[in-house]
């Protein structure tokens, strides 16, 4: 039996998930909500959801790992999602991605040591005319070159300093 600690975040999850006790169809809903709270899905949340929805934890993790959207590791403060859609690929999104990874010193899916950035890829954000595109947090940056992309990322550090 999993018992979640008594924190405001955990309580929000408890309150939401307990509405769907035994309802296996609400799994993805519960995962969306919990990821919204924590930014990722820690193991105890996976087990808690499994217990409440009466699904084996292995199935919950099976679902979590199936969908692109869910993640089981904490995110950096900012997530940089580089679009690798066809249109962006044509316009050099791979170079943008490689440059960012190299300059930040991380692999795709990794988070920088200072916890500032996580770099991931996305298939298409539906903004193809602006290709190549990257999304940082909720901001979308289009028509990038590797240099332009790096300047934007660097801007986030400078913003902090000022």
């Amino acid at each position: 039996m999993v018992k979640l600690p008594d924190t405001p975040e955990h309580n929000r999850v408890k309150e939401f998930v307990s509405q769907f006790r035994g309802d296996k169809g609400s799994l993805i809903k519960a995962l969306h909500f919990s990821q919204g709270v924590f930014g990722y899905l820690p193991p105890e949340i996976i087990e808690y959801i499994a217990q409440e929805l009466e699904i084996p934890a292995s199935h919950v993790y099976g679902v979590v790992s199936f969908y692109n959207f869910f993640r089981t590791e904490p995110m950096g403060e900012y997530e940089i999602r580089v679009c690798l859609g066809t249109a962006c690929h044509v316009k050099g999104s791979k170079e943008v991605l490689e440059t960012l990874c190299r300059k930040l010193g991380i692999k795709i899916g990794g988070t920088t040591k200072d916890g500032k950035f996580t770099v991931s890829t996305v298939r298409c954000v539906g903004a193809c005319p602006l290709a190549p595109v990257m999304v940082i947090g909720k901001e979308v940056y289009g028509r990038l070159s590797p240099q332009k992309a790096w300047n934007i990322v660097r801007g986030y550090y400078e913003e902090e300093r000022t």
Binding site: G25, L27, L84, T86
Partner: protein, 544 residues
């Protein structure tokens, strides 16, 4: 008292948001207030105004003047010159589509050529967050007709069958026929597939964001026809704006008893719920989508049993695409014969395309079925950007096929394309100018398939992987001519042995790319090819 003399429509979609639509809107409202025009001029947010890639777009009514690439700095000028003094700002003005109407179409955004708008009728015209505007623009009229004229579910189904409407999700299966397969039972489900996961495609999204009430109405009608009292909209989790708009619309519809039990006292019951996807292209396949709604991994099921017999929670289920559904209200309202006056005899109606790539006005267009690719690109899309030469187009998205110049006159409908081993697919048309590399495009497509294969059946799981390894070799210039044959062989085998359409698709782009652009591949595997310097890409991105 407010006496509105003028409306300013501002197109709000992901692209214009990026270009600062919100800031422009706020500046506009502030400027109008400053100039004392707040009571005279109303600012209305609408969905996409059609063309994209032209920044923030404003359309002023009743003058029917359109502005593109508007920035905050332009706002005072527009307000002072145009709204106060009545002199349009020529500098920003772009031509508005002439009003050529087969159907009763309200003036819409900026298009090069008039389009018959059946599906996108209200997109970009109304405030998608206002039920009143939707109703004023004609939404729910078909529903009212069904109720007032006492049309039975069978009547509705027959009208749709007669109209010849075919599924817009890609396969082109006749919708009426699909509905008629629904097994009898006390509980059935209708699912709207709004999981648009294909790169470069966003037509469903603009429909959802531009006219959500139309979709709700169409689902009530479809549900009524097949006997489903519960519907789900399975929507891509990334589409936050769409989810917000459709949620709001559902809320409004429930409030006005346009959804729920005994709709408008007609005895019709229909409940609608949104199910968020979580990012899996394969969930566009209807059985995978059903699995996902049931909270499982989105792995396609074996067919038979078909969803029409055993679908969601084991109950008879119909899954229709957003665009397919959006065709239903006009069919019911205007009749099958009217609908058949569009398009070709075997593929009646219109089709919504997302045109992208190296084209003058990329964006969303709606044209009749059977319109030639040439017309779509050169008439509706304004031709190739910067006066460059047309090289080819990828039609139907990643799971579609390449076409080259000699096929420009192909009629775009399900049957004509079949002759070219091509498909309408997701309705995405990626236009390539002479500088585009088909090799890297194919590479991108294959890495997409590798990433999105669900991994359930062996040929797709391992085939997509093998295709990518071979392609990576080719891209790096390390492949041989044999690798080109290998691509074909592997994808042919995948077509033969895969469980669901995902694994059966890679053959389309591969075969067409190798058929029409073989030289380009041969150059890569010649052993002499080197990667072009990065500047080329930088330049290319400047072009955008």
């Amino acid at each position: 008292m407010r006496h509105i003399r003028c409306h300013v429509l501002i197109g709000v979609d992901a692209n214009s948001l990026l270009a600062g639509a919100k800031a422009v809107e706020q500046a506009l409202i502030k400027e109008l207030a400053d100039k004392g025009l707040a009571d005279e001029v109303q600012v209305i947010e609408t969905g996409s105004l059609g063309p994209i890639g032209q920044g923030v777009i404003l359309v002023v009514y009743p003058d029917a003047v359109a502005y593109a690439n508007v920035t905050v700095d332009d706002v005072p000028e527009i307000v002072t010159e145009h709204l106060l003094k009545g002199r349009p700002v020529k500098r920003l003005q772009v031509p508005l589509a002439p009003e050529e109407r087969v159907v009763e179409i309200k003036p819409t955004g900026l298009v090069k050529k008039p389009q018959p708008r059946v599906v996108l009728q209200n997109c970009g015209v109304i405030d998608p967050e206002s039920l009143e505007e939707a109703i004023a623009a004609g939404d729910y009229q078909a529903l009212v007709k069904v109720i007032e004229e006492g049309m039975s579910p069978k009547d509705v189904m027959e009208e749709v069958t007669k109209s010849g409407l075919r599924g817009r999700g890609g396969a082109g299966f006749p919708t009426g026929k699909k509905w008629s397969f629904t097994a009898p039972g006390p509980q059935k489900y209708l699912i709207c597939n709004a999981d648009e996961g294909e790169p470069g495609t966003f037509k469903d999204r603009l429909i959802l964001e531009g006219d959500p009430h139309r979709l709700i109405e169409s689902m009530i009608l479809a549900g009524y026809a097949i006997g489903a009292t519960k519907g789900y909209i399975y929507i891509r989790g990334e589409y936050t704006l769409s989810i917000a708009r459709i949620s709001k619309a559902i809320e409004q519809a429930y409030r006005e008893n346009l959804l729920g039990d005994n709709i408008l006292d007609s005895g019709i019951t229909f409940h609608l719920e949104i199910k968020k996807g979580a990012g899996a292209y394969v969930c566009g396949e209807e059985t995978a989508l059903i699995e996902s709604i049931e909270g499982k991994r989105g792995q396609p099921r074996l067919k038979p049993p078909f969803p029409a017999v055993q679908g969601l929670w084991g109950k008879p289920t119909v899954v229709n695409n957003v665009e397919t559904l959006s065709n239903i209200p006009p069919i019911i309202l205007n009749g099958a014969d009217w609908y058949r006056s569009f398009g070709t005899p075997t593929c009646p109606g219109t089709k919504v395309y997302t045109i992208l790539g190296h084209i003058e006005t990329p964006g969303l267009i709606e044209v009749e079925m059977g319109t030639t690719l040439r017309d779509i690109i050169f008439e509706y899309g304004g031709g190739i950007r910067k006066g460059k030469k047309f090289k080819g187009a990828l039609v139907g998205g990643a799971a579609g096929a390449f076409l080259n110049e000699s096929q420009l006159d192909v009629q775009m409908d399900y049957d004509s394309l079949k002759e070219y081993a091509a498909v309408l697919g997701s309705g995405a048309i990626l236009v390539m100018d002479e500088e585009t590399s088909v090799v890297s495009l194919l590479h991108s497509i294959l890495s997409f398939f590798e990433h999105e294969s669900c991994g359930q059946c062996t040929p797709c799981r391992m085939g997509t992987r093998s295709l990518l390894t071979i392609m990576e070799r080719i891209v790096r210039g390390q492949g041989t001519e044999k690798d080109l044959d290998l691509l074909l062989q592997v994808s042919e085998n995948m077509q033969v042995s895969s469980l669901c359409p995902l694994g059966q698709s890679p053959i389309l782009p591969i075969k067409s790319a190798l058929d029409y652009f073989r030289d380009e591949f041969l150059e890569r595997v010649s052993g002499k090819w080197t990667e072009p310097p990065l500047q080329a890409h930088e330049e290319a991105s400047q072009v955008g």
